[in-house]
């Protein structure tokens, strides 16, 4: 059996190969920086080298002497352009060329534009700045940071959740822990570099840039440039990895657009790997204090989760994962509090499972500590505390298959063979440890539009302004159309990644498959309705049949009794060559203005904890085996098993791949990934893939993904829960648990490294 294509179980779709696979293996998938553009000029960024202060003087003379230099866009050039805004669409309010204030390391100070890439780079490297420097605050514990409560600072984090009387319950608990955890700064580092190519055709601005939100960017870029959004087009047909980094638009986009306008020719700026650390967003470092109290029977009576997150001075970016951790188990009482620590840093942003990766790591590591304190099997401990309703709002879960996930993963992993005693398992010079943790991610969905056309020849075209960032959304959208319109997948083409297409929400928060499939379903059903109406009309070939007795298959409308009519013939009778339907989908319970917001680039998410009827989450259970050399303490993760339940699985192949990738991200979270911030200068040190380590092929050996069948009609019409971010939640805690099991050392600060095990 081919592991890449799991056989579908109940409520799971066929593991069709990706419909864009051939393009991707032949080099014909054009990412934004690949799109042919005539007469292009090259841009290179010059970035600042201090983290706090002011630019007092820019030295441009050396750069201007570089042969081939065309322009330097710097202070003054953006005066007739509005500043970027921080929020759903914009990465930061820091307007680097509007203002000489330096807020963080690596801030853009100029864009050099030249005839060649080499000349642009040379010129950018020659641009120097004089600064009036101030002592920057790098991170937690740095003098000069300011700590503020997070609740209410962001529309996405309204309040600190709580339930019952934590203090009393904790005080009287028979068994309790009180522990602190931390997670490091991390950068997404998609392999595709960040780039902007901009050109003007009269009043029309075309931007080629990898984006997870073409509609939002169109509107925001138009606002900054003070032009009509109808005159802006963002083109991003393929995206070379995103993980949240290409969700918010950064100030560079408008700068390059201005450069192209000044020059009257296309400008392409590919940000270097190093510069991306300061010009894009990142996952900020977090700290956590967790207190859990339980009875001797293992029932939790008290849970407190306090979190601290670093953000920039001007922007209150908050992830606030207590919303999920506070609802994870049947706690009895819950107390949470999230604080922001403002430092001289660029504004953080979404990175794969933004709240859950750090917060659930802390919770699940604490759960393992608690299981140890109780002398209880960690799986059993979670089973005992499985809730019927979530503890904050006492709402039911729309579906929750966590225990099934634990059971199936434990079975496949061979958890029963684990010796509970710490340090008991060995293989030669290698200490063996096994651990597990829960994965959780909110199931959300957002308004979305799509256009679907079925021709008499049986060709289907789906158009939707969503984004193929590697998730397979192009494939599953095509698959949905193929199923509903009864044509082979080879007859379906799917266009995405262009703001000229019907608008879709940001491809983040694991909402794309649910949102896109729900609207494609709707458009296809509208096509079916038209076809059926024609087929069942009095003069039609299937007169007398009711719609619910009909299906579309192999280019035919098939009635229950076996009678059928060719779609081609129905279209003939309708006197049309094709049926095209434009559909809009709004989640159940969405306010009347929800669709209007979709067109303005700011559709709201629904689901998760927000709905009245139920809370909506996808769950999983992950088991890992670690091996640690008894001399040198290097840590390897040779075996992982994850079982996940996420409602309807559109395509078991792409779903498995995403979950697998997420789990490997989890290895990176646990052992490798950390951006180091120089404490004195508040500057990023390891700004490259040489020292910002991510897992490589040799780090992954045996990895198994189990797709646990689950049906959930409450989440959205497609019945789909997102899973792009589920896989890497929990993994790091499972690794930490396994490291404890192998060594008896409880590591609470990520990443777990050799030095923590040597002492």
């Amino acid at each position: 059996m081919d592991a890449a294509a799991p056989r579908p179980k109940e409520n799971q779709g066929e593991p069709l190969p990706r419909i864009d696979a051939r393009l991707k293996v032949t080099g014909q998938a054009h990412y934004p920086a690949d799109l042919p553009t005539a007469n292009i000029a090259y841009g290179a960024l010059a970035t600042g080298t201090i983290a706090r202060g002011k630019v007092t003087k820019l030295h441009l003379d050396d750069a201007r002497e570089v042969p081939g230099l065309l322009d330097i866009v710097t202070y003054g050039a953006m005066d007739k352009v509005d500043k970027p805004k921080f929020g759903n669409v914009g990465a930061t309010s820091i307007a680097p060329l509007h203002d000489r204030t330096i807020f963080h390391d690596g801030q853009i100070i100029a864009l050099a534009v030249a005839e060649t890439f080499e000349a642009a780079e040379e010129a950018a490297q020659l641009i120097r700045a004089d600064y009036e420097e101030e002592t920057p605050s790098a991170s937690f514990d740095s003098p000069g940071t300011k700590t503020i409560p997070a609740a209410g600072k962001s529309p996405l984090f309204k309040e600190d959740v709580k339930a019952g009387d934590f203090d009393a319950a904790y005080a009287s608990a028979a068994v309790k822990i009180d522990a602190r955890y931390s997670t490091p700064t991390q950068h997404h580092n998609p392999i595709e570099l960040f780039s902007t190519t901009a050109y003007w055709q009269g009043d029309q601005l075309i931007v080629h840039e990898p984006s997870q939100n073409v509609t939002g960017w169109k509107v925001e870029l138009a606002r900054q440039l003070r032009i009509d959004p109808a005159n802006v087009r963002i083109v991003s047909p393929f995206i070379g990895g995103a993980f949240g980094s290409k969700g918010p638009m950064t100030p560079r986009t408008a700068i390059v657009a201005v450069a192209a306008r000044r020059l009257g020719r296309p400008v392409r700026c590919v940000t270097s790997r190093m510069q991306a650390f300061g010009t894009q967003t990142y996952r900020a470092e977090t700290r956590h204090r967790i207190r859990i109290g339980a009875g001797k029977d293992g029932r939790i009576t008290a849970f407190a989760h306090e979190g601290w997150e670093v953000t920039s001075r001007p922007d209150a970016y908050v992830v606030g994962g207590t919303s999920a951790t506070g609802r994870m188990y049947d706690y009895g009482s819950v107390l949470t509090h999230v604080s922001l620590v403002q430092a001289d840093r660029n504004t953080p942003g979404y990175m794969r499972s933004p709240p859950e990766t750090p917060y659930v790591y802390a919770l699940e590591n604490a759960m393992d500590e608690m299981a140890v304190a109780l002398g209880m099997d960690p799986v059993e401990f979670r089973r005992i505390n499985e809730p019927k309703k979530e503890p904050i709002g006492k709402k039911p879960f729309s579906s929750r298959s966590l225990i099934q996930c634990y059971d199936q993963a434990a079975e496949a992993f061979g958890w029963a063979k684990r010796e509970a005693k710490v340090g008991a398992m060995r293989d030669g010079d290698w200490l063996v440890g096994m651990g597990c943790a829960t994965a959780i991610y909110p199931t959300a969905v957002a308004p979305c539009a799509a256009r679907v056309r079925l021709t008499a020849d049986g060709d289907v075209r789906v158009q939707c302004g969503s984004h193929e960032i590697g998730t397979g959304v192009r494939t599953v959208a095509g698959q949905m159309a193929s199923e509903r319109l009864g044509v082979g997948i080879d007859r379906v083409s799917v266009e995405m990644g262009d703001s000229a297409l019907p608008p879709a929400p940001v491809s983040g928060g694991s909402i794309s498959t649910a949102s896109v499939c729900s609207v494609v379903l709707k458009a296809c059903d509208a096509i079916r309705t038209k076809l059926y109406a024609a087929a069942t009309a009095e003069s039609g070939p299937l007169a007398g049949s009711h719609n619910e007795e009909l299906d579309l298959a192999d280019g035919k409308i098939v009635a229950k009794g076996g009678a059928s009519a060719r779609v081609e013939d129905i279209l003939k009778t309708m006197q049309v060559g094709a049926i095209e339907e434009y559909a809009e989908f709004a989640p159940k319970g969405a306010p009347p203005e929800a669709l209007k917001k979709l067109y303005s680039g700011m559709p709201e998410f629904h689901g998760g904890e927000q709905d009245e009827d139920a809370v909506k989450y996808a769950f999983g259970a992950e088991f890992v085996e670690v091996r640690i050399n008894r001399y040198t303490k290097e840590i390897r993760v040779p075996r992982l098993v994850g079982a996940f339940a996420a409602g309807r699985i559109m395509n078991t192949r792409t779903a498995r791949s995403q979950l697998m990738g997420g789990m490997i991200w989890g290895i990176g979270q646990a052992l490798h990934e950390a951006t180091e911030v120089d404490r004195h200068y508040a500057r990023y040190v390891n700004r490259d893939l040489q020292d910002y380590l991510v897992p490589v092929n040799a780090d992954v050996k045996d990895l198994q993904v189990i797709l646990v069948p689950e049906v959930d009609h409450a989440v959205n019409p497609a019945g789909v829960k997102g899973l792009g971010e589920l896989g890497n939640v929990g993994t790091a805690a499972a690794v930490a648990s396994a490291v404890y099991h192998a060594t008896g050392k409880r590591i609470r600060d990520l990443p777990i490294r050799i030095e923590q095990l040597l002492v």
Partner: protein, 206 residues
């Protein structure tokens, strides 16, 4: 806090260095796309003068007029129009730019194009046969879903072919180790290993 912005460079200052060596004529914009008849060859090159470089890419000869600083990667992408080869880090840390030079896998970002004069270069665009039949490694990558976003994929496929031809695909362990120079941030690694195993025998000598 007295971290200077840019430290003094050694020897002559940049400005005096350039003033002394660049003639007025050389300051004209470089023509990147077309070979110039008067452009010197490598052995006669002068500072800032383009050098005509002949590269045999996917069995087709390209005469390119290049800045000596142009990497093989940028020559392929910006001058030969072959954008299948990807820039992921530009510093030899990710493997996305892997191509075959005289049959061996190398990083095109760390090679100046002029150094490849007369060499045989194979990029992702050169693997499928003219009738559209995919190279067995390309097919195997599709069969095993050995990518997600697809950005590192051209480099992975060329690296995989190189890995097989070097004799380093004998076991799963070897494949994992010898494919570790190609970072896949989507982390399709197990599927990449499966793909290499599938295509291994057909690739040898292909």
């Amino acid at each position: 806090m007295s971290q200077p912005t840019v430290l003094p460079r050694h020897g002559l200052s940049r400005r005096s260095f350039m003033a002394g060596t660049v003639s007025a004529a050389a300051a004209a914009p470089l023509l990147a796309s077309a070979a110039q008849a008067e452009a010197p060859t490598a052995s006669q090159s002068k500072l800032r003068q383009p050098v005509v470089t002949s590269l045999r890419i996917n069995k087709q000869v390209y005469e390119l007029s290049l800045d000596t600083r142009t990497s093989l990667l940028d020559a392929l992408r910006d001058h030969a129009g072959l954008t299948g080869t990807k820039k992921g880090c530009d510093h030899g840390q990710c493997g996305a730019c892997t191509v075959l030079v005289d049959g061996k896998r190398v990083l095109s970002c760390l090679s100046f194009a002029v150094m490849n004069e007369g060499k045989d270069i194979t990029t992702i665009e050169g693997l499928a046969s003219s009738d559209g039949k995919l190279h067995p490694m390309q097919q195997a990558f599709i069969d095993h879903d050995a990518f997600q976003c697809g950005y590192c994929t051209p480099g992975q496929i060329l690296s995989a072919i190189g890995c097989v031809n070097e004799g380093h695909a004998g076991s799963e362990y070897d494949i994992r180790e010898y494919m570790s120079g190609n970072i896949c941030r989507c982390a399709a690694y197990p599927n990449i290993v499966a793909a290499v195993l599938q295509a291994r025998d057909e690739t040898k000598g292909a």
